[in-house]
Symmetry: C2
Subunit: 117 residues, 2 copies
Amino acid sequence: MSKQLTVLESEVCCAPLAAATVPAEAAADLAAAFKALGDPVRLQLLSMIASADGGEACVCDLTPAFDLTGPTISHHLKVLREAGLVESDRRGTWVWYRANRSRMAALSAVLDIATTA
Amino acid sequence: MSKQLTVLESEVCCAPLAAATVPAEAAADLAAAFKALGDPVRLQLLSMIASADGGEACVCDLTPAFDLTGPTISHHLKVLREAGLVESDRRGTWVWYRANRSRMAALSAVLDIATTA
DNA sequence: CAACATCATCGTACATCGCCGATGAACGAT
DNA sequence: ATCGTTCATCGGCGATGTACGATGATGTTG
């Protein structure tokens, strides 16, 4: 059932269109990163980390900036870490976070490509 | 209960840090857009739309590119529309979609700023 | 006008996400 | 060596998101 059209297959309404500008595999990876950015808290966290002095920020500075508990901030940082957007680095008592610039640039490039094309 | 610290408030571990690189209001708006991109299907949809000939694509080309039903594709397009990433335009029988370049550029800029800073 | 096609919306299961409290591991200080 | 602090992980509940089928609004065609 639901047989294919026999005729009127060509020029139904428009051009065929490549249908694979961004491959499915790449899309899954990129979407995971964008999804991590799809939360105001995480966006601000990444912004604070990336713009911090030396490109590093410790959790003791990040946590009090929000009305959220420690575990929740830790959870958001974990999401950013698993998305490859930040990297953790334990240095003594505190844990320091730094942004993954190349990954952020890759995401930016995706939007630029679509914009330019 | 849970009283504030009296001393050891200054220079606990590091610099104060601006804490407001991206304002909360702007973060909410941007996060909504990034959230819309946080799905492989939507990412490919936007990519197909933005790279289509003339910057426009009709649903009749978008739907068959996925193993999803029509209503589901329509739902994803609605998410992209509400995020301000695309605009719909009914032209006769078919509905055409085109990408919102300025909005995409704005998102790209956010990642660039964080990268440059 | 009537029949058809296209696309969006509505209502509904299933999965995932966001948040917290409690617990556990790592480290410095006494 | 023991204690206090810092931060991550675990377990749970409520809210949100994804997917489908069915239905409705809009526009074309016989």
